[in-house]
């Protein structure tokens, strides 16, 4: 592992805690990336240390501010409740026991203006870093530091080879690739984190493949 000087001096962030504030903002940012901007209401379920200390750490304002699109260094995080009310976004916080997960874990459920819903779970693992662990009930694992493409497909030979060849053809370098499945031959998913941006042409080419059912493209977090 190569440590940059700016891993030591930085990040620039609003306090008080990189794990309970900066990381929480980034979890909120990720929820907004998944849901889009037309947000009607949001519910936060806080687990572990998040549940115990969220008021004193401002984790509630951080998560909400993140959903409103504020960056980890934005001092308006402090006024997140007011900002949400101004934008007519309803919000609610609940504590929950999610079982054997990281102590700083949040589950975020968003209702869009058209009534549709989406949800994500993620953990703040220190230094402002996060891991997203599920999107719309699909188990995933990615950091949000890279452009992330989630491919839901049939568990069959050739799907992964096809997908990686499309990326290769577009000169997109894959930094991390993970494959999950529940049962052999059933639905599976690929999480692909890339160094380069993924454009809609890539997505369209992937969608042509019959065993690929659905694709979700997530831009990197700030």
């Amino acid at each position: 592992m190569t440590v940059s000087l700016f891993d030591v001096i930085g990040p620039i962030m609003v306090g008080p805690s990189s794990s309970h504030t900066a990381g929480a903002i980034r979890l909120g940012n990720m929820a907004r990336k998944v849901s889009g901007e037309a947000i009607q209401a949001v519910k936060f379920y806080l687990h572990g240390s998040f549940a115990r200390t969220y008021r004193g750490h401002g984790t509630d304002r951080a998560l909400l501010g993140g959903v409103l699109g504020l960056a980890p260094a934005d001092e308006r995080i402090r006024e997140a409740f007011q900002l949400a009310r101004q934008q007519n976004i309803e919000y609610d916080f609940f504590t929950i026991d999610l079982g054997n997960v990281h102590p700083n874990t949040a589950h975020i459920m968003i209702t869009r203006k058209d009534g549709s819903t989406c949800e994500i779970s993620g953990s703040s693992i220190g230094g402002g870093k996060v891991v997203i662990t599920s999107i719309n009930k699909l188990p995933v694992e990615f950091s949000g530091n890279y452009t992330t493409t989630i491919v839901i497909h049939q568990d069959k030979p050739g799907v992964i080879a096809y997908t990686t060849s499309v990326f290769s053809h577009h000169h997109i370098n894959i930094a991390f690739l993970r494959v999950f499945r529940q049962l052999r031959g059933q639905e599976a998913s690929m999480i692909i984190e890339t160094d380069e941006m993924v454009d809609h042409e890539v997505i369209a080419t992937l969608q042509e493949y019959p065993d690929i059912k659905q694709i979700l493209l997530i831009e990197p977090l700030p």
């Binding site: 000087l5 030591v8 001096i9 930085g10 962030m13 306090g15 008080p16 200390t53 230094g127």
Partner: protein
């Protein structure tokens, strides 16, 4: 090649290139990130600007933290330093700046984690008090920041900077080591003296526990930042006086990491030991979280 993985290699590079730690740290960062030295200097100066802003804001008398436990202490110490204080005013200005940054942090203001949010006051405290006292230019201050960052990078590589993993010695202890090395650099001390000061700082804070009251980054964190500023400056002065650390820096880093792993989980940011379980702390915790 400017790659260094420990203090020994860092000092060898300094010798080979007949230069100082700041220069090696800058060149090495250029190599690993592919950025130009101008780009890196720009980022360093931006970090310094945010640090300075947080000191200014934190000296306000009516600042209050989110948890309600701290605020206004930076202002108190800053005013007192102008009277007839016991310690040298330089130490008191540095300590009041450290309080200022940590009070801003606790009020959800903007800070630079250095190396963490909980220990974010020590390095700006020392840097900006010295910048005023020694009339440093922006470039000189940025170079001192590079020296501090090089020390922090070695600790991150071989031990840890996280209170949850290593206790407060990993956060405030590392920040004090970084600040001590930067202070020696500012005073024109030799490269070896920077490393000696950092080793002495780690030694003096070895075993310090992370015990936040109610789990918040307020008590004892803020005032601990202030006392660690004094610690860093004394370690820098000792090194400048020619006192060497009997245990070399690299070995101090390794043993700090080892002590961190030996610390009971109750003493690593879980709020289940130390200051956090005193009767006063528990009473406050019950008031803040009546439903638990």
């Amino acid at each position: 090649m400017y790659f260094y993985n420990n203090a020994e290699q860092l000092l060898t590079l300094c010798q080979e290139h007949q230069t100082d730690i700041a220069h090696i740290a800058l060149q090495s960062e250029c190599e690993t990130t592919g950025q130009s030295s101008e780009q890196i200097m720009e980022k360093l100066k931006h970090n310094l600007a945010v640090m300075e802003e947080s000191i200014q804001k934190g000296l306000h008398p009516h600042l209050r933290s989110v948890g309600g436990l701290i605020g206004g202490n930076a202002y108190r110490l800053f005013q007192y330093a102008k009277q007839d204080p016991l310690s040298h005013p330089l130490i008191l200005y540095a300590a009041s700046y450290a309080l200022a940054v940590t009070e801003v942090n606790a009020s959800m203001g903007k800070i630079v984690a250095a190396p963490t949010a909980g220990a974010s006051g020590i390095l700006p405290g020392v840097l900006f008090a010295l910048r005023e006292a020694r009339d440093l230019s922006q470039d000189q201050t940025a170079h001192a920041l590079l020296v501090a960052a090089a020390i922090g990078k070695l600790i991150a590589t071989h031990a840890t900077l996280s209170g949850a993993e290593g206790g407060c010695q990993a956060e405030c202890g590392s920040a004090a080591a970084m600040a001590a090395a930067a202070a020696v650099y500012i005073q024109g001390g030799q490269n070896e003296m920077c490393l000696d000061a950092a080793a002495l700082a780690l030694k003096g804070l070895l075993g310090l526990v992370c015990d936040p009251v109610a789990g918040l980054v307020e008590v004892p964190c803020s005032k601990r930042n202030a006392t660690c500023v004094a610690h860093a400056l004394i370690c820098a002065d000792m090194a400048l006086a020619g006192i060497e650390s009997f245990i070399p820096f690299d070995e101090m880093v390794d043993t700090m990491g080892r002590v961190g792993r030996q610390l009971a989980p109750a003493l690593r940011e879980t709020a289940q030991g130390g200051c956090a379980i005193t009767p006063t702390a528990l009473q406050y915790t019950c008031q803040l979280y009546p439903d638990q």
